[in-house]
């Protein structure tokens, strides 16, 4: 192959033939966006394209007045002979894999993805391609998710016990995606009322407007200071942990919902009462299955445990390489974009 269809540049993953970038981290002329998380969708480019399902949350994230062209699933622009289309990635609402085809060569850029079903977004679809660009956030075999029905049942049981003990329950979850997945997952197991941090509440509105079924939620700061929070479940971004905003809830048990909670050290370092293993990324077995399903003979591995994944794929006889990006996936630290300040 003479020239690569896509290459990594200092602004992001670039298609020279089409003159566009995918999830650039610096402003560019034309940006195709896989999903609206801050490490993938940056403000300041001239033109944006994303999936229909993504548009609303993307505007909330990068600004309502941005020039964004949305496309339906399987659809997309053709730019300088390069055919682009968006396909569901199952990561969060509107998350897409981007398929790029030129002169018979096909690439798929996964963005972040999971193959587990999730009622808050369209399910991941495997797309056949020659080159698959995959994330590797949880690319080690120690990461293997328990069925989410068990996780939600555990969460509901924890919530019920807290209620009996006269406490509120506070779940820390990323404000875009994880928070809504927690709410949706618990709505039929509710042990009390749902409340939210402002960062979560705003995005709940977007989810509902997109037709996602969420339980009724109340913005916690709008409630009287003397409210009795016993039995309430509050969903807040991880950065709210340890902040004075939490004081209003009185006695409370705290939990963090993340794939990192699979490992005891990460659980303990969080200093929350409970860690629930709940991830919007593929675990190791799903990662390997998803790669197989693309039929790709070449795999480029981005953010996460790149080196082990590359090595494991090579041992399976695939051509694999690691590429450096500024995407972070689900970091152990917080990913709340600027402007989504915690001090309310």
């Amino acid at each position: 192959m003479s020239a690569q269809l896509l290459t990594i540049t200092d602004r992001g993953l670039f298609c020279e033939q089409g003159g566009f970038y995918i999830d650039p981290w610096l402003p560019v002329d034309r940006a195709l966006i896989t999903h609206a998380h801050g490490d993938h969708a940056r403000w300041g480019s001239r033109l944006y394209a994303c999936s229909n399902e993504c548009e609303r949350v993307l505007r909330t994230r990068i600004g309502a007045d941005q020039n964004i062209t949305p496309y339906g699933w399987g659809d997309g622009p053709t730019i300088e002979g390069v055919r682009v289309s968006f396909h569901p990635a199952g990561h969060i609402l509107g998350s897409a894999q981007i398929r790029v085809e030129h002169q018979g060569e096909t690439w798929v850029i996964s963005g972040d993805y999971k193959t587990e079903p999730d009622p808050t977004c369209t399910a991941f679809e495997p797309i056949r391609c020659h080159t698959f660009v995959t994330e590797s956030t949880f690319g080690l075999p120690i990461y293997r998710w328990t069925p989410q029905s068990e996780t939600f049942a555990d969460m509901a049981a924890w919530w019920g016990r807290n209620r009996e003990a006269g406490k509120a329950s506070i779940v820390f979850a990323y404000s875009l995606g994880k928070a809504q997945r927690v709410l949706a997952g618990l709505q039929d197991l509710a042990q009390g009322d749902f409340y939210t941090h402002g960062a979560v509440e705003r995005l709940n509105g977007d989810y509902r407007d997109e037709g996602i079924r969420l339980p009724p939620t109340t913005y916690a700061s709008s409630v009287s200071r003397t409210h009795d929070w016993t039995g309430a479940l509050i969903v807040a971004p991880p950065s709210a942990a340890g902040s004075t905003w939490l004081r209003r809830f009185g006695p409370a048990s705290t939990a963090f919902a993340s794939g990192w909670m699979r490992v005891r050290g990460a659980r303990r370092r969080r200093s929350v009462d409970r860690g629930f293993v709940l991830s919007d990324h593929v675990d190791w077995p799903s990662l390997m299955d998803a790669i197989d399903a693309t039929g790709a003979h070449r795999v480029l591995v981005t953010h996460g445990y790149r080196d082990p994944v590359v090595r494991a794929l090579r041992e399976r006889g695939l051509e694999a390489d690691s590429i450096a990006s500024r995407w972070e996936g689900e970091t152990e630290e917080d990913v709340v974009p600027a402007g989504e300040a915690i001090a309310e």
Binding site: L140, R269, G275
Partner: protein, 531 residues
Amino acid sequence: MRNFARLFGEIDATTRTNEKVDAMARYFASAEPADAAWAVYFLSGGRPKRLVPVRRLAAWAMEESLIADWLFEESYDAVGDLAETIALLLPESLESSDLPLHAWVEQRLLPIGTASEENQREIVLDAWRSLSGNERFVWNKLITGSFRVGVSQSLLIRALSQVSGIAQGVISHRFAGDWRPSADAYLRLVAEGSESPEASTPYPFYLAYSLETPLDQLGPVTDWQIEWKWDGIRAQLIRRGGATYIWSRGDELITDRFPELVAASEWLPDGTVIDGEILPWGEGRPLPFAQLQRRIGRRNLTAKIRSEVPVVILAYDLLEIDGLDFREQPQSSRRVRLVELVGEANAESRILVSPVVNADTWNDVVGARNEARGLGSEGLMLKRGDAVYGTGRRKGGWWKWKLDPYSVDAVMVYAQSGHGRRALLHTDYTFAVRDGEALIPFAKAYSGLTDAEIRELDAWIRRNTTEKFGPVRSVKPEQVFELGFEGIQASPRHKSGIAVRFPRILRWRKDKPATEADTIETLRSLLASTL
């Protein structure tokens, strides 16, 4: 095993002591005595030695989970704990064993150490296949001799007391010493009544907190008995039924390490228990602690090492006299009787009464503390004249007021990732002092930074790594830290020629460039000042 693993999970999931105690109480309320005995043993820090070589376990885990060795290593690096790595990698088990804890321990765990490799493999694989999630983790921790759980002995005793209704003091006395797990032993622990235990059983040690009240708020200085704080082995010397038992504070029976003290104790009347400090001793003052370590490290206690490192016990307190528990008597009375008793025994100058500091004002106390280092003491103990001899760490009756540690400003040169709770972060650092243009490493420190500082430093380390050797990174020598340590000794084994005791980070000196860090000369002069 299932219930015990659940208990472990509950304790591990919370940082609140009440929840830990409640979880233990719930467990003991329904556990069979034979199982409860082992739970008590493990929760109190009892650990069978490593029973199966770790390398074997890793090899079997790789086979069982069909994972290549390099991928196992990568996983281990990310998790930081072998037992957990294995538990996370093994395929989900289809069965769930109902075998009770004592059967797991007595029929499988304990025999495994002497089993053939083939049998070991069979037992381990069978355990992995019949245990799930947390149970496997606990099992792996047990066979690797690394089981630890975040409860103190006093919390455990609180839970036992909650379940049995027996006073904590009674349980902790019954538990003190070399408690061996069995159904009977457990039942005796929580039995009605307050029968005293066997002759060898020590009392729980009374431990002091660091002084946190300003001196002038402690009341008149005359209300207090001020003593030197010695840095040796805190011990109880028991003379009962014509025999002597010496216990360390770690509840280890160390009688045979100190035949001189046993001989001297024969002068004490039967039914005597003394609390004191065993110290290496020469020319009327303590020798460096390292001398005692050298002696303890010897398997054979030869006449040579005994003459090179003579020991004494400096008696602090009298806990039993004429076979009667004396601990509820006020400090001042216990002191009077202690002086009489040890004086009468005239025990070959091996049993000495730790002297009190005479002070008419708090200023005298401050002055005495400043002289402590010169006497080979590490500070002062403040004991209220009316204090009873308490159980465990209690506030109010006793305070320890240690010397400020030595400190130097040193440069971080290597970093290594931690284990357990800090597995994904660099938390173990090596520090150097300047020697002309060179940097001489002299101390490793693990603690003293906040979690936020650790994260910040971790990010800096990742950006400023110059070389990697396995888990160790060399970093640009730019970050300066104030290190504190408790003692300093010459050491030919260290490149710097100096070894420091209990080094820890006091402060991150972001204000200081590496060029202003302390030099090897600073360390040498600190060393000289202690001789």
